[in-house]
């Protein structure tokens, strides 16, 4: 096998970002080139996924410099799964953006920057070097800043100031943690760090370092109490942008937390209590924040925060079953959250408002689409056999194993709150007789769109809903995958051997 295939997802996205930059002025072409690029990326990502699952963890050294001196790129089961999910979400968003994002925004380079964002995500999931991870994170946040501010409305700029400041702070804390890590061990290669970190004598400093990383990634993944930037900014962006942010950006932080705490740091009693209590507080602050909101996009913004808690709880319990649950939840959440934000974009196109109080009657007007929307909504709650149910089962099982009954209680209670929010959302938006909304001039209502444009808005939602259904009904294969990832994470020996063959 040629190890260079690990680079392909990164290279494809980079090539298409460059190609789209050349087509800066030709917005119509960009739409199709972006879709072609995303399809190609999906093909590359799924073949990489298939190959790595068959052959096991593989690594490649950029520039041919031997590990641990050069930068390693490592494809293990977790990394390629995330790359595959990025490709799926990327395809859905790039089809959807062609119609939903308005022309003024497309002219400011929406598509090239979208592909730069996907490039950064692919890189972050495949790198095996901590400083390189920082660089990918910066590529992600710089492109996300531009995507968030593109269009330049007042609310967007205000949201962007908060988003920028806190994400910048997170990056600086991350970089500080890297500096301390390098001072302690003299290495940046993740596989090399496993042994070197265990040999450090000053354990207190290691613990401080772990907490610095946790705070840095905690801001990025919107943990309690570091989440306030998220509901202040996500709802201001166009719905396609909010979809990719809600689906993937916070999850990169979770991915980094999982990597750090399975590979480099051990979850000792202090870190465990920090992780578990943050997880529980994240459940409650997210769910309660969501309860009082009226803007439908803010409701889902708060639900993103709420559901980050499940993954952190999984990492905190740190058993094989708990990690498998966390990974399964990660897979489920990326697809569902993206879908929900695409759905809010569609609802906005149908009615011209985001206010839950004013919305209504959607079921009477669009019965088929409403049934389609029911899939992500009820997958989110995890009504069996839909996709959210299975990971929660694993997490609860892990809670019994580790005898942390308060976590089980918190998981059940937050699921109940999510159910309440979703049912409220369903009855308010779909069943309630809505207010007579004023007709907005020059607004591209869904019913006025051409048929093919309608399809390009609905097709991504159908696509993601089908994947959600597969995760729910084909839970056995996804569970198998999560178990395999979790086994690999619990025993990092394969990872180390793949990067440093001599040991």
């Amino acid at each position: 096998m040629n190890e260079n295939i690990i680079f392909y997802p990164i290279l494809v996205q980079m090539a298409f970002a460059i190609l789209l930059m050349f087509l800066w002025m030709r917005v119509e072409w960009q739409k199709w080139v972006s879709i072609i690029g995303s399809v190609l990326n999906l093909v590359v990502a799924s073949s990489l996924f298939a190959i790595i699952l068959r052959e096991g963890t593989t690594s490649v050294q950029a520039g041919g410099w031997e590990a641990p001196f050069g930068i390693s790129f490592v494809a293990d089961a977790l990394g390629v799964t995330m790359v595959l999910l990025t490709a799926i979400v990327g395809l859905a968003v790039s089809i959807y953006s062609g119609v939903s994002v308005n022309r003024a925004r497309l002219k400011f380079g929406y598509f090239p920057i979208l592909h730069l964002l996907l490039l950064g995500l692919n890189g972050a999931f495949l790198t095996g070097d901590i400083f390189n991870l920082y660089v990918w994170f910066e590529i992600i946040i710089i492109s996300s800043f531009v995507l968030l501010t593109i269009g330049g409305e007042k609310a967007q700029l205000e949201g962007a100031v908060k988003y920028f400041t806190l994400n910048f702070l997170a990056s600086m804390i991350f970089l500080t943690a890297i500096a301390v890590l390098y001072g302690l061990t003299g290495s940046l290669n993740m596989a090399d760090l496993v042994a070197k970190m265990a040999a450090v004598e000053n354990r207190t400093l290691v613990q401080v370092n772990a907490l610095l990383f946790l705070i840095g990634f905690g801001i990025k993944s919107a943990l309690f109490p570091l989440y306030f930037w998220l509901p202040a900014s996500y709802h201001t962006a166009p719905s396609a942008v909010a979809a990719i942010f809600g689906g993937l950006l916070t999850k990169v932080g979770v991915y980094a937390i999982i990597r750090m705490f399975t590979l480099i740091f051990e979850v000792d009693s202090l870190i465990q209590i920090v992780l578990l209590s943050t997880a529980v507080l994240t459940f409650f602050s997210g769910a309660i924040g969501s309860l009082v909101q009226n803007n439908i996009r803010k409701i889902f913004s708060y639900l993103i925060i709420c559901h980050i808690g499940y993954m952190i709880a999984g990492v905190g319990m740190m058993t094989q079953v708990a990690l498998a649950g966390a990974i399964f939840y990660l897979i489920h959440d990326i697809v569902v959250k993206t879908n929900l934000f695409l759905m809010t974009g569609l609802i906005y196109k149908m009615k011209g408002t985001h206010s839950m109080r004013k919305l209504g009657d959607l079921y009477a007007e669009y019965p088929l689409l409403s049934l389609l929307f029911a899939i992500p909504l009820f997958s989110l709650v995890g009504i069996p056999p839909l996709s959210g149910f299975w990971p929660k089962l694993s997490l609860i099982e892990a809670g019994f194993d580790t005898e942390s009954y308060w976590i089980i209680g918190a998981i059940l209670f937050s699921s109940l709150l999510t159910l309440y929010i979703v049912v409220k959302f369903w009855s308010e938006v779909f069943w309630k007789p809505g207010e007579q909304l004023p007709n907005i001039k020059h607004f591209r209502y869904f019913r006025k769109l051409k048929k093919r444009h309608k399809w390009r808005l609905v097709a991504p939602v159908v696509f993601l809903s089908l994947i959600s259904l597969y995760i729910g009904f084909g839970a056995e294969s996804v569970m198998e995958l999560s178990n395999r990832i979790s086994d690999e994470l619990m025993d990092p020996q394969h990872y180390i051997e793949a990067v440093l063959p001599s040991t």
């Binding site: 260079n4 680079f7 290279l11 980079m14 460059i18 930059m21 800066w24 950029a62 520039g63 041919g64």
Partner: protein
């Protein structure tokens, strides 16, 4: 800054500084310098020109928006990384060198082309940023 001395000087300084920036770019592999620094020097040359003259005069020096240097530079960098993958099936970004050094330029390899790519991107990005900031005021 409307002094006639600076304005007269800037017309001569611009080509000189651009040549100097290329010099910095080329010596960058073993000595201090390289694509990033060279690109910054080149961008500063245009900024100096814009200070002495008007921003519009500097903009007229470009046939197209300097932002378009970015995709060209990125393409060059990407291709220089891909070369070793295609030709000798080694890893992405592996350095490949010509066996003989060229006169005046020195050793030529994929790294040099990567650096030229960086140079173009830096000039493009810096000028785009500066033009954006000074335009809206």
């Amino acid at each position: 800054m409307k002094t006639i001395i600076l304005r007269a000087a800037s017309n001569y300084m611009l080509p000189l500084l651009l040549v100097f920036s290329v010099f910095i770019l080329l010596r960058g592999h073993y000595l201090p310098g390289g694509g990033f620094v060279g690109g910054l020097v080149a961008a500063m040359a245009f900024v100096l020109h814009a200070f002495a003259n008007k921003l519009e005069t500097t903009k007229k020096l470009f046939r197209m928006h300097p932002g378009f240097l970015m995709p060209f530079g990125l393409t060059l960098a990407l291709l220089s990384g891909l070369m070793p993958m295609i030709i000798e099936e080694s890893s992405f970004l592996t350095a490949m060198w010509l066996s003989e050094a060229l006169p005046a330029i020195g050793a030529v390899g994929t790294t040099l082309f990567f650096d030229i790519g960086v140079y173009l991107v830096v000039v493009g990005v810096t000028l785009t940023i500066i033009f954006t900031i000074s335009e809206s005021s």
